[in-house]
Symmetry: C2
Subunit: 156 residues, 2 copies
């Protein structure tokens, strides 16, 4: 299936990125098209996996997740074991992101916990159980100034 996106698709993505719960009817009004035509496009964007999913952004503080940290993780062995290490990291629910990075550190991981104590727990209980982790370097976030999931949608 073709993955090329025209201007209308980009408009849809822009509007839905800003508000995933916009009604199809409103979307159609914005685009000055029939609801049925817009719906067809949205379904196609979902099929093509251009749209990955619709998520709700929850205020972490409201559910007692006050601490955000980034952890650089160095793997002790070669490239082959990295994939395995990555999978193990990805399974930990508090870990939101796992990136395989260039350079001497193997992974950069984003993690959210209630507080410093529970981060410590996580590192002791979950991280230390993963084989081949040589070292970790943790960076604590004091304040998040910007946090958007939005991508920059090209104009055309």
């Amino acid at each position: 299936m073709d993955i090329s996106l025209d201007h209308t698709d980009l408009q849809i993505l822009e509007l839905m990125q800003t508000n995933a719960r916009i009604s199809n009817a409103d979307l159609a009004r914005e685009l000055e098209m029939a609801p049925s035509a817009v719906l067809e496009r949205v379904k196609k964007l979902e099929q093509k996996k251009v749209i990955r999913r619709y998520t709700t952004s929850i205020n972490p503080a409201a559910i007692q997740q006050k601490l955000l940290a980034f952890i650089f993780i160095r793997s002790s062995e070669g490239f082959s074991c990295c994939t395995n290490t990555a999978q193990l990291l990805a399974q930990i629910p508090e870990i939101q992101e796992v990136h395989h990075i260039a350079g001497e550190d193997c992974f950069l991981v984003k993690v959210r916990t209630a507080d410093a104590a529970s981060l410590m727990d996580l590192m002791r209980n979950s991280l230390q159980k993963i084989p081949n982790i040589a070292s970790t370097k943790t960076t604590i976030v004091l304040e998040t100034v910007k946090e958007q999931q939005e991508l920059v949608i090209p104009k055309k």
Copy 2:
């Protein structure tokens, strides 16, 4: 207004985090409640800013955003100017996240661009224009193994 969340609220958050476009009717069926009652709760969660927004996760590759990088940015002056620097960074659309971090580096920034060349452009054109940036250290992501926005919703 009270911000305490009961079990039903947490269930709603869990379901909506997984799929922001779930219909209120389906939500009500899952919770075995009347749609009107569920709607009332959702509205309240929005009012209380427990729910921040509903977003659509777009496959970055589909819109030619193939490069992901993290940049550590050191500010040359004291704490007071940091706020200003943060604001300037936050205005750059390609920068998705700006975190004020503990330690000698002042900020950790997450940035998405089309490719290495456009990241270079960004650094030359946008970053270098910001006063008081002493140094930057860029980490390129080779592969993203996990990328979730979901928080861990407590059971009770």
